[in-house]
């Protein structure tokens, strides 16, 4: 075991982690621990753009953007945070441009902007051009630009280091972050990083679904590390299903395709979104479009022999426009489906895309221990966190924005905290939990296999807690997850070595997915209403009287070692906007 000491430790090197690292490195001695090489993060998969009311191509302002974000989140958004997001969006985009990001340009040389789902002028009047973009590879450009600037600033990376535990020490009755424990993939060695401040920026948890746009590596490691140490997870029942994933594969096809004029059609060739969202049509918010697609499929208007998908039609758009604005997604259609988007429509279905919930934080990125108390020295930003700027449903282009605004804020806040704080003593035998976990997996002779349990988990999640949910389906999922968690105790791995043991880490990741899937299902069961991405067929309406509140889920450990989930609730911050019925 090795012990390292840094002022600031950042967990994860995607957009939020690297944005934080650029700020933290300028102000404090910083280490970035990342399980992937920095440019491998899934930020690079984001396509369509980053919202900011620059008003470069038409009238726009941050207040309209705030409203759209609050409405898009079905009023579960904390409005003070949404206002910060929309206001600071403008500088966030300009910061990236100054760092070198090659945005597409207007004829007069400014950053070009395009339409995106749920973004409107003047509180829902009509779609507005707010998304700043670089073709359909905006996330790729953000990731590359941030890494380039990390190289420029000399950010110190520990690549292929898996953070498996969060260390917390109680000082005078106050729980404080003491550091993290990491597993080095190359050697199997365990490292303890003592740090004055820790920022989680480790991304989402989409791999508990089968059809997902998420990378294999998105296994909720940061959420699980905090949750196991008694910290709450907020709004985990809210997961976004992106309307346009490649049929059966789930690979993302950007909403920018509809922003450029693409149309969704059912088997009769009908533009069905006109029925569900007369004003915004194909550019309604994602939860609305995903439900509309499944409604078409359920009512027998799906395409193909099994009627299990619909079409994204780009054939009426000029090939030059597709080449210039949507080169990557048209290539995906060619590569993975053998389809030519110039002439043929693309089969799509909703795909599990984004966790609105996560580690609760305030607007400075400080992690919450309960509804009001912060954990000194602990921060989170990006998809791993829940500020909450996305509420019950995130608007497209607001996640690339979120990672930049709150990545920067948490990087500054964590480094400033580190400058005035002392190191907190490490707990006794700090690596014990990780050592025990790793040795148990390495030495297990059980007869359960990681891949089989993961497969069953993904199947039950897709079948029971996806776009449509009922008490019955959620209960089925809870029961199944319980069974899988029991079987997980007998999981064994074949690779017993120390060098690059990805077999071992897949087993660890599965444990994280199982914990978080259970939290999601239990939180969803208790929310007896429909709001944003959480749709209950048995409670199809939003219920502001009983459920205008955030879910806070805690792991409780009984004296006999049994684990239970305790649910509590946190008020929503409302400032300017009173909840209204949501129409698009």
């Amino acid at each position: 075991m090795k012990i390292h000491k840094y002022d600031t430790v950042i967990v994860g090197a995607g957009g939020a982690g690297m944005r934080a690292a650029i700020e933290a490195t300028k102000r404090s001695r910083t280490a970035v621990l990342t399980k992937l090489y920095p440019t491998r993060s899934h930020t690079g998969a984001a396509q369509g753009g980053m919202a900011a009311a620059l008003a470069n191509v038409e009238e726009d302002n941050w207040e309209w953007h705030t409203f759209d974000t609050v409405k898009g989140g079905d009023y579960l958004v904390d409005q003070d945070a949404a206002e910060i997001l929309a206001k600071e969006a403008i500088d966030a985009v300009l910061d990236l441009e100054k760092m070198g990001l090659p945005f597409n340009r207007t004829p007069n040389g400014t950053i070009d902007q395009r339409r995106f789902g749920g973004h409107s002028r003047n509180h829902g009047e009509a779609p507005v051009r707010r998304s700043c973009y670089a073709a359909d590879r905006t996330g790729h450009m953000i990731l590359q630009t941030l890494y380039q600037n990390c190289v420029k600033e000399g950010v110190e990376f520990f690549n292929e280091f898996y953070v498996l535990d969060q260390l917390i020490t109680e000082v005078d009755g106050v729980k404080k972050s003491a550091g993290v424990v990491a597993y080095e993939l190359a050697t199997g060695e365990i490292h303890v990083f003592q740090a004055k401040s820790v920022i989680y920026a480790s991304g989402g948890t989409g791999k508990f679904f089968k059809v997902t746009s998420n990378a294999h590596t998105l296994t909720g490691d940061g959420q699980a590390a905090c949750y196991r140490r008694g910290l709450p997870l907020e709004d985990m029942e809210f997961f976004q299903f992106h309307p346009t994933g490649i049929w059966r594969m789930g690979i993302l096809l950007t909403e920018g395709a509809r922003g450029e004029g693409g149309i969704l059609r059912n088997k009769d060739g009908e533009r069905f979104m006109e029925k569900y969202a007369p004003v915004m049509k194909d550019l309604a918010s994602r939860d609305v479009v995903s439900r509309s697609i499944y409604t078409e499929i359920r009512e027998g208007r799906g395409c193909g022999p099994e009627g299990d998908h619909v079409y994204l039609d780009l054939t009426h758009l000029p090939p030059e426009q597709l080449d210039a604005k949507l080169p990557d997604i048209t290539e995906f259609a060619r590569t993975y489906l053998g389809i030519e988007p110039y002439t043929d429509p693309i089969p799509i279905q909703p795909t599990a895309h984004y966790a609105m919930g996560g580690i609760p934080t305030n607007v400075e990125g400080e992690v919450l221990l309960d509804n009001t108390t912060v954990v000194p020295g602990l921060y989170a930003a990006g998809e791993v966190a829940c500020v909450s700027v996305h509420g019950a449903n995130r608007l497209g282009t607001n996640s690339l924005l979120d990672i930049n605004v709150f990545g920067k804020r948490s990087g500054i806040a964590a480094a400033e905290y580190a400058a005035k704080a002392d190191y907190v003593d490490l707990p006794e035998d700090p690596a014990s939990l990780v050592q025990e976990q790793v040795e148990r997996l390495r030495n297990s002779t059980g007869n359960e296999r990681v891949a089989e349990i993961r497969r069953e988990l993904q199947e039950t999640m897709d079948a029971n807690v996806m776009v449509f949910r009922t008490e019955q389906t959620i209960k089925t999922a809870v029961e199944k997850i319980g069974e899988l968690r029991a079987r997980y105790k007998n999981v064994s791995i074949q690779d017993k070595g120390r060098r690059f043991n990805t077999d071992l880490l897949e087993a660890v990741e599965l444990g994280n997915l199982l914990d978080l899937a259970e939290v999601m299902a239990v939180s969803a069961l208790a929310r007896k209403e429909s709001r944003g991405g959480h749709y209950r067929e048995d409670y199809p309406n939003r219920d502001d009287v009983n459920f205008m509140r955030h879910t806070m889920a805690y792991r409780e450990l009984g004296d006999d070692g049994t684990e239970t989930i305790r649910l509590d609730y946190k008020p929503v911050v409302q400032t300017r906007y009173q909840p209204m019925e949501r129409k698009y």
Binding site: L36, R40, F103, Q144, H216, R499
Partner: protein, 252 residues
């Protein structure tokens, strides 16, 4: 719109899709043996699936010790460059049907970088070459309050080289790099090109001097392996030629 009847994809999916394919994988684990060996794995797979899906079938169902890097699984993260049937490709962007599944499919690590285990190589020399070309925008003077202006034409000038995902398929396909790991390699030059030809950047001369080194662009023998290998379709050799020309003319 084209008539939405049975399209190609759906027509093909009607019959049972699975075929038996042999994956012939180069295995190396210094914890077990200092020698690398070929190992055959027969698997059932839909030919429309990816080579990465085949590797996962092996790892998840047959041999958990098979080791490779992967993440996004659709060609944008750059983790899974490997030599497939003797050619550098991304495993997640190569469909079984496109590489003759009648014969064993050979899978081995990319060349020119030290193999650490199975398909995992040491990427550090590759990233060091990248960092050495100053891969970041350099500007002088005061920061503008708004964005720097750039015409659509100036933006287009370096578009091709912004697509790089640092997968190393190009660099590890280059015979010069195989023979001498000191050569910067195509990927580093591509990333220098991305800034040299960016109208906003003011360090083009410095980057050209770095690449004027004996291990710089002049080592390129224009074999076009890099261009063939690039999973992003970047015209790598052309970019290298443009950097050479800029060195001669000092115009960029």
């Amino acid at each position: 719109m084209a008539t939405p009847v049975l399209d190609k994809v759906e027509a093909e999916s009607a019959a049972s899709p699975y075929i038996t394919v042999t994956f012939r994988v180069r295995r190396f684990n210094p914890e077990v043996s200092e020698h690398a060996v070929w190992e055959d794995f027969p698997i059932e797979i839909d030919p429309k699936e990816r080579v990465l899906d085949g590797l996962h079938k092996i790892k998840w169902d047959l041999d958990g010790s098979l080791t490779f890097r992967r993440s996004c699984a659709h060609g944008i993260c750059g983790s899974d460059a490997m030599r497939i049937n003797g050619k550098n490709r991304l495993a997640c962007k190569t469909l079984i049907k496109d590489i003759n599944p009648e014969k064993p499919i050979t899978v081995e690590p990319i060349k020119g970088l030290t193999v650490l285990k199975d398909l995992v190589v040491d990427m550090e020399p590759f990233f060091q070459a990248y960092r050495d070309v100053m891969p970041f925008l350099v500007t002088k003077g005061n920061e503008p309050t708004r964005e720097r202006l750039q015409s659509a034409e100036d933006r287009e000038r370096f578009d091709d080289t912004t697509k790089c995902i640092l997968c190393a398929a190009c660099t590890s396909s280059c015979p010069v790099f195989w023979n001498d790991g000191q050569y910067f390699g195509p990927a580093a030059i591509v990333n220098a090109h991305r800034f040299i030809f960016d109208s906003r950047d003011e360090a083009g001369e410095q980057r050209l001097e770095i690449l004027n080194d004996k291990d710089g662009v002049w080592r390129c023998r224009t074999t076009f392996n890099c261009t063939d290998a690039c999973p992003r379709g970047i015209e790598v050799t052309k970019a290298i030629q443009e950097v050479k020309r800029a060195l001669i003319t000092r115009r960029f």
